[in-house]
C-alpha cells in the first residue's frame, strides 16, 4: 500500500486550471472545422462543396456557404478538397446553448464569447454540487472514454463541484451520447422522467447532436439525435468531443440548473 502512496506523491499535480485559465490544444488538433479568414465562398461550385461532406454539414443557399458543426464528424473531407475555404481549428471549447449557434457562415465569427467569459465566475459561484447521470443512447464508445477521462487527475471534474451519480433520481444533468437508436429511445425517456426538477440535458458528441453518420435520410424518427426525444439544453459537437469540450458543456448546463446564467 505504501508503494501507491509514494507513486501518487512523486508525480505531483497534473490537473488543468480550466476554466480559470484557458487550456491550449496541441498543434494540429482537430477540434472543429471553420472558415479560413478572408475566404470567400463564390457561388459557382457551391453545390460541389455541399456534396463533399458525408454527413450533410455543409449547405449552400443564396450563394453563401454555411457549416453545421452539429453535423460535422471532423473527417476533414472538406479541408482536403477546399483548403482555401475550410480549415481545422485547434479549439477545445465547442459547446453551445442552442442548435442554431452551431451553424456558422463564412461571413461572421462564432458568437457566445460573453457566455464563455462568465464560466469561470459561474464555476466558483456554484452554491451546491451538480450531479450528472450519463446515458449511452447509441454512441461509438469514444464518447464514453472521454467522459470517463473527466474524473482522471488531469481534468478532475470534482474540483468544480461536478460529480457523476449512478441514479437519475439524484441527477441534475443528463449527459446523453449517441444518435438514439430504436431500442434506446424508451430507456432514455424513462431516465429523463425519473430526474427531479430543475434538470438539464446535454447532447454530447455529433451523433447526439444530429445523428452524425448514423442519421438516415428519410427516417424522421430514429437516429436523428437526442433533440427528437428530449429537450436539449446544451450541444457539445465533436467526434468525439474532447474532455475540455465536455467540461465546457457541463459548466454551461450547471449554469442552467442553478439559475445563475450570466448573459
Amino acid at each position: 500500500m505504501l508503494g501507491w502512496v509514494t507513486r501518487g506523491l512523486r508525480r505531483g499535480i497534473v490537473t488543468t486550471r480550466y476554466p480559470s485559465s484557458p487550456e491550449q490544444a496541441p498543434f494540429g488538433f482537430r477540434g472543429r472545422v471553420g472558415f479560413r479568414e478572408g475566404a470567400s465562398s463564390g457561388g459557382k461550385d457551391a453545390r460541389a462543396r455541399e456534396d463533399v461532406c458525408p454527413t450533410s454539414a455543409i449547405s449552400a443557399g443564396n450563394g453563401l456557404i454555411s457549416l453545421d458543426r452539429g453535423r460535422c464528424v471532423l473527417c476533414g473531407a472538406c479541408v482536403d478538397a477546399y483548403p482555401e475555404l475550410f480549415q481545422f481549428e485547434p479549439e477545445y471549447e465547442t459547446a453551445a446553448r442552442t442548435r442554431a449557434a452551431l451553424v456558422v457562415g463564412d461571413r461572421h465569427a462564432a458568437p457566445e464569447k460573453a457566455v464563455q467569459r462568465s464560466l469561470a465566475e459561474q464555476a466558483r459561484g456554484l452554491k451546491r454540487s451538480i450531479h450528472i447521470r450519463h446515458v449511452d443512447a447509441g454512441s461509438d464508445g469514444a464518447e464514453e472514454w472521454e467522459i470517463a477521462a473527466l474524473t482522471n487527475p488531469y481534468y478532475d471534474m470534482q474540483r468544480l463541484g461536478l460529480f457523476f451519480t449512478l441514479t437519475p433520481r439524484h441527477a441534475d444533468v443528463l449527459l446523453v451520447t449517441g444518435a438514439v437508436t430504436t431500442s434506446m429511445a424508451e430507456p432514455l425517456r424513462r431516465a429523463y422522467e425519473a430526474m427531479p426538477f430543475p434538470k438539464a440535458v446535454v447532447a454530447a458528441g455529433t451523433d447526439a447532436c444530429s445523428g452524425g453518420f448514423a442519421a438516415r435520410m428519410g427516417d424522421a424518427d430514429h437516429l436523428q439525435g437526442v433533440a427528437r426525444v428530449l429537450p436539449v439544453d446544451v450541444y457539445v459537437p465533436g467526434s468525439p468531443p474532447s474532455p475540455i469540450a465536455l467540461l465546457h458543456g457541463l459548466l454551461l448546463a450547471a449554469g442552467i440548473v442553478t439559475h445563475e446564467v450570466v448573459e
Binding site: G3, R7, P54, G138, G178
Partner: protein, 498 residues
C-alpha cells in the same frame, strides 16, 4: 496479378480438404483468401469438415457479386477460407447447430430478413431488443431474475445482461447486445472510398484504428495494390498506441472495481498521456482519419525521435505501476480464479483476442495472417494459461510491452524504404477481405467495390464473437465478481452493435 494476396478459387468442395489439409502452412508467404463454391444444402457438411479439422468460424453474410450468395468464412491454417453458396431460395440449414460461434451472426442474419437460417429450436430475434421483455432461463422456486441494463451504473456503453440468480450465485446470464444497433453496414452502401474510411474509423471508438486498417486492407487487396512501407509503419504506430490505451482503460476500470483509488488515478494518468500523445501525432485523440486506403491519412505533427522520447518516459512509469498493481494482494484476490475459461470453451465459441490468449489459444491476426508491416516485424504473442480475469490482465500488460517493442521497430529509421506496389486507382472495382488485430481481438471487413463506390459490406467484430464467452465464464462466480469479469473482457458494445 494480385501481389499482396494470393486468391485461390477451388472448383469443388472435396478438393479443398483433399488438397489443402496436406499442404504445408505458409507462415512467411502471402496470406490467402481461399474461395470454395458449395451448394446451399452442402454448406453444413463443408462447414463441419472445416470445423472438425480445427477451423475457427469467423462469420456468415450475403455477398452480391458475381451472383447473390451466402458466404461462410472461417480462419483456417493461416488463411481465410470462404464457402460460397449461391442463394436460390430464402432459407438454408443453420450453421449454429454445428458451432455456437455461429449463433449471434445467424440470429442477426435472420433479423436482417434476406435469408432464414433454419434450425430446431428456431433462432430467436436479436436486433431490436426491448429492455422490458426478458424471461427467466433457469427453472426453480428460489431463482429470480435481475435485468442489468441497458442503462447501467457508471459510465458504460449500453448493453443488457439478464442475470438468473438465487441471491448471490450467478445461475445463468443472457447477454443482450444490439441496443445501439445503428445499421452502419447499410450506411456504407454507395459511399466513396474516402467517406467509407471515415465511417469505418467511427464504428467503435476503442478500436477506431483497427477498423480503419481492416477497411483500408480490404480496399487495397480489392485493388491489388500495396502501399509504401512508410504507410504501413504509421499504421503500426497508430494501432499499437490504440492497443496500449485500451489495455490501460481495462486496468483503470479493474482498479476502480477494487476501489483502489491511487491505482485508478495512476492508470488514468497513463491512459491520458497516451491519448494526448495520439492527439499530438494525428490531431485526434482516437487517431481518427489517420489511416486511409493507399496513403498516410494525416501526416504526423511529431517527429519519430520525439515520439520515442515520450514512449521511454511512459515505459518507465508503466513498468512501476503495472508491477505495483499485480503485487497488490487486495486487488489480485478479486481477479484470481474469477471468470475462468478453458481452451475447449474458447474453441467451441471461436473466441478471439486477449480473452482467448489468456487460455493459451494463440489467436492473433498480426501473427496468424500477417498484414501490413507485421509481415516484417518481430512479434511475440503474449499468452497465459489460467484463463481467469487475472490471466487476461497479465496478457494485456505483456501486450503493452510487446506494443512498445513494435512501436520502437516501426519508428526506427529505415535503411531501405520499400516503395510499395501500385497506386490506388480512383475507381476501384472488386471484392476482398481485410483484417486487423484490435485491442479486443480480430476485426474482419468484407467489401464489394464497384468503380470506386462501396456495394455490400460486412464487419466482423471481436466483441460480438466474445460476448457468449462472457456468460460462459461464470462458473460458481457470484454477483460481486460481475464487474471484475466484465471489465477483464474489455469488450465494446459499439463494435458488435455496428
Amino acid at each position: 496479378v494480385n501481389v499482396t494476396r494470393r486468391r485461390v478459387e477451388i472448383q469443388r468442395a472435396d478438393e479443398l480438404l483433399a488438397e489443402h489439409l496436406d499442404a504445408p502452412i505458409e507462415r512467411n508467404g502471402m496470406p490467402v483468401e481461399r474461395w470454395v463454391p458449395v451448394k446451399l444444402d452442402d454448406l453444413p457438411n463443408a462447414a463441419q469438415r472445416l470445423l472438425e479439422n480445427g477451423a475457427r468460424f469467423v462469420s456468415i453474410f450475403i455477398a452480391g457479386k458475381p451472383t447473390r450468395s451466402l458466404v461462410a468464412a472461417f480462419a483456417f491454417r493461416g488463411e481465410i477460407v470462404a464457402l460460397r453458396a449461391p442463394l436460390n431460395g430464402n432459407a438454408y440449414p443453420a450453421l449454429s447447430s454445428l458451432t455456437r460461434a455461429a449463433e449471434l451472426p445467424e440470429r442477426e442474419l435472420r433479423d436482417l430478413g434476406d435469408v432464414l437460417p433454419l434450425r430446431e429450436p428456431a433462432l430467436e430475434p436479436v436486433l431490436r431488443p426491448d429492455a422490458n421483455d426478458f424471461r427467466r432461463r433457469v427453472e426453480g422456486e428460489e431463482a429470480f431474475v435481475i435485468p442489468y441494463g441497458p442503462i447501467r451504473s457508471g459510465i458504460f456503453e449500453s448493453i443488457q445482461y439478464v442475470i438468473d440468480t438465487g441471491g448471490e450465485d450467478v445461475l445463468a446470464i443472457e447477454t443482450r447486445p444490439f441496443f445501439k444497433h445503428r445499421s452502419l453496414e447499410q450506411r456504407f452502401r454507395g459511399m466513396s472510398i474516402g467517406q467509407g474510411a471515415a465511417l469505418a474509423a467511427r464504428i467503435s471508438g476503442p478500436a477506431s484504428v483497427a477498423h480503419a486498417i481492416a477497411f483500408a486492407e480490404a480496399v487495397e487487396h480489392a485493388a491489388g495494390v500495396d502501399p509504401p512501407a512508410l504507410v504501413h509503419a504509421w499504421r503500426v504506430v497508430h494501432a499499437e498506441l490504440e492497443r496500449i490505451a485500451a489495455h490501460l482503460d481495462v486496468a483503470t476500470r479493474l482498479a476502480e472495481d477494487a476501489a483502489l483509488s491511487v491505482g485508478v488515478a495512476r492508470f488514468g494518468i497513463l491512459k491520458e498521456e497516451v491519448m494526448r500523445l495520439r492527439a499530438s501525432i494525428s490531431g485526434s485523440r482516437f487517431a481518427r482519419d489517420a489511416v486511409v486506403p493507399g496513403r498516410v491519412g494525416v501526416p504526423s505533427s511529431l517527429a519519430a525521435p520525439d515520439i520515442l522520447a515520450a514512449l521511454r518516459s511512459f515505459e518507465r512509469d508503466f513498468a512501476h505501476d503495472s508491477k505495483l498493481l499485480v503485487e497488490t494482494a487486495s486487488f489480485t484476490d478479486r481477479l484470481i480464479g474469477s471468470g475462468t475459461l478453458d481452451r475447449d470453451t474458447i474453441d467451441a465459441y471461436g473466441g478471439v483476442g486477449p480473452v482467448a490468449r489468456a487460455c493459451s489459444v494463440a489467436v492473433d491476426a498480426r501473427f496468424e495472417r500477417p498484414y501490413g508491416a507485421y509481415r516484417h516485424l518481430g512479434l511475440r504473442i503474449a499468452s497465459a494459461d489460467s484463463g481467469d480475469a487475472m490471466a487476461r490482465l497479465v496478457v494485456r500488460f505483456e501486450e503493452v510491452e510487446t506494443s512498445l517493442h513494435l512501436l520502437r521497430q516501426a519508428l526506427r529509421p529505415r535503411r531501405r524504404n520499400h516503395s510499395g506496389h501500385g497506386d490506388l486507382p480512383s475507381e476501384v472495382s472488386g471484392a476482398a477481405f481485410g483484417w486487423a488485430e484490435a485491442p479486443m481481438g480480430e476485426v474482419v471487413y468484407w467489401l464489394e467495390l464497384e468503380r470506386g463506390r462501396i456495394g455490400r459490406s460486412h464487419i466482423v467484430s471481436p466483441s460480438l464473437r466474445n460476448w457468449p464467452l462472457f456468460a460462459a465464464s461464470f462458473r460458481g462466480d457470484v454477483l460481486t465478481d460481475f464487474s471484475f469479469i466484465e471489465h477483464s473482457f474489455g469488450l465494446s458494445p459499439a463494435g458488435s452493435d455496428r
